[in-house]
Symmetry: C2
Subunit: 307 residues, 2 copies
């Protein structure tokens, strides 16, 4: 099935201990779409300025990502610039120029409205609500957000959360939204708001998927070298929902596989700047890493415990 992905398309300038890049392709919708495109057909909705390089359009098209929903308007593309120190868990923003993104009003093209899977990447929760109003009856809607919206538009955020099937938060956002240090308690609180599934992304500590029926803990891939963590969360989300949309059913087995698939994609993403590693990625690479995740977390029953 297809996945509609709404979010930012940006030009990032990033400095890490491993190098420096300027105006490279970034943004939540970009990372999520590129990652998801390995599994399902993608419809991207976003906005860029007239300065957006045509090579980046080509790059997305190469992966059969539909860009009918990408508005190209007069003005400059959203730009983010930031840096990471040796502790790659923390991004330091130097500047955020919204540019044309500040006028973004997602318009869902007619032919996108029946898309079965939807990923509302991190944008203003009012816009996320607006996207849902334009859609027919999607089978599965996942939502991401950030600390800024939790602080400044909590009511609108809670409203859209009540309408989606799955929420993705990082650990800090979970604690902030639910006002508790305990991540499991926070997840249960989010479940009580409506969604059936909560994912808590913990960066170097992996990710948790929590439903009212089960909890799944996905390990993080052990990495000695993280070249650029930008977009890891969106790449995870894209891999997750792209994989899920490629399966017949949303069931426990596939949700667990989707968590590992998302983790695989994120682990590749951080090996290079922008989409550089994903551009070289093969199905063999993905399967190989999936097997490494199995090795990483497998253990046998105790002797004599039976099974």
């Amino acid at each position: 099935m297809s996945v509609l992905i709404v979010g930012s398309v940006a030009l990032d300038s990033v400095t890490t201990p491993f190098g420096e890049v300027k105006d490279i392709l970034g943004g939540s919708a970009t990372h999520a779409s590129y990652s998801a495109s390995f599994y399902s057909p993608i419809n991207l909705v976003g906005i860029v300025g007239s300065d957006f390089p045509s090579e980046y359009v080509d790059l997305l098209k190469e992966r059969q990502i539909s860009l009918d929903g990408l508005q190209i308007v007069d003005g400059k593309t959203f730009r983010w610039s930031g840096y990471y120190e040796y502790d790659m868990n923390q991004a330091y923003s130097l500047s955020t120029e919204l540019n044309v993104f500040s006028t973004f009003h997602p318009v869902i093209p007619e032919q996108y409205r029946s898309t079965e899977y939807v990923f509302l990447a991190n944008i203003d929760p009012e816009l996320q609500l607006d996207v849902l109003r334009q859609m027919d009856k999607p089978q599965f809607v996942a939502l991401d957000t950030m600390n800024y919206w939790i602080q400044n538009k909590k009511d609108e955020l809670l409203k859209v959360i009540s309408k989606v099937d799955m929420v993705l938060l990082n650990d800090a956002e979970s604690r902030q939204l639910c006002n508790t240090p305990n991540l499991i308690k926070a997840a249960r609180q989010v479940l009580s708001m409506g969604p059936k599934i909560v994912i808590i992304k913990k960066g170097e500590h992996g990710a948790l998927l929590i439903t009212s029926d089960f909890i799944f803990s996905a390990p993080a891939f052990p990495m000695e070298m993280i070249h650029d963590p930008t977009g890891a969360g969106d790449t995870f989300a894209g891999g997750f929902i792209g994989y899920l949309a490629s399966m017949k059913d949303i069931n426990e087995v596939n949700l667990r596989r989707a968590m590992i698939t998302g983790s695989c994609m994120a682990s590749f993403n951080v090996e290079d700047f922008s989409l550089n590693r994903l551009r070289r990625l093969t199905q063999e690479d993905i399967h190989g890493r999936y097997r490494e995740f199995q090795e990483l977390s497998h253990f046998d029953p105790l002797e004599g415990m039976g099974e």
Copy 2:
């Protein structure tokens, strides 16, 4: 096989959001020994004062823990007092009265010297070295430490690390000892110092076991209620080494099982103050939780990936 455990035996006064206890049985050797005693015969080496309650001696004896190495001397027992706030990851010390522990010189009774497994719980690295000098040729030695020794006795600590088979560190200690934020890099550095196995304890994020051959990531048990985290790390270490000593071989399968066994024991320990939960613990409880850990981390191969 038997396990020799050397460390502190203490009287703890602890306040958490769930209650307050005074002068209850604590200490690294206590928690580790009690936990390990579920799997193997334990020889405890430590020191207490003449004020040490006889009921606590009985409590350890009930689990067949040999106390021939427990020195009972004139003076007061080591006391620690501290509290936890709602974020249970952080212990706040109110007072640390070393008392008779400040004069501790571990004397290994003749009949203990051939013990095959040794756990050097967190004490002065000079004393840890002294213990090793007194032992015949143990088959497996594990070592724990803390930030204080990394900062104040690094040379002695590195010396004893070079002589052991396994080192346990928490995430902060790993970063401090190896001067890198990357836990995998830190672990590789510790491996280069001599030990064959490094365990990094990450509290609510689980634990990693790293060797030159493989990495195993153990999830943390998802807990909504942590009543008292005191001793969780030592309970983990005790469960780990106690289980390992009960097996025929130290191999990858058993090391992975030992990680989960330690995690099970630690998850029980934090459900109540002191050893209260472990005192009520049955083999059925342990097996049940082990199965929950399997549920928590299991995922299937991708369809069509083969095996």
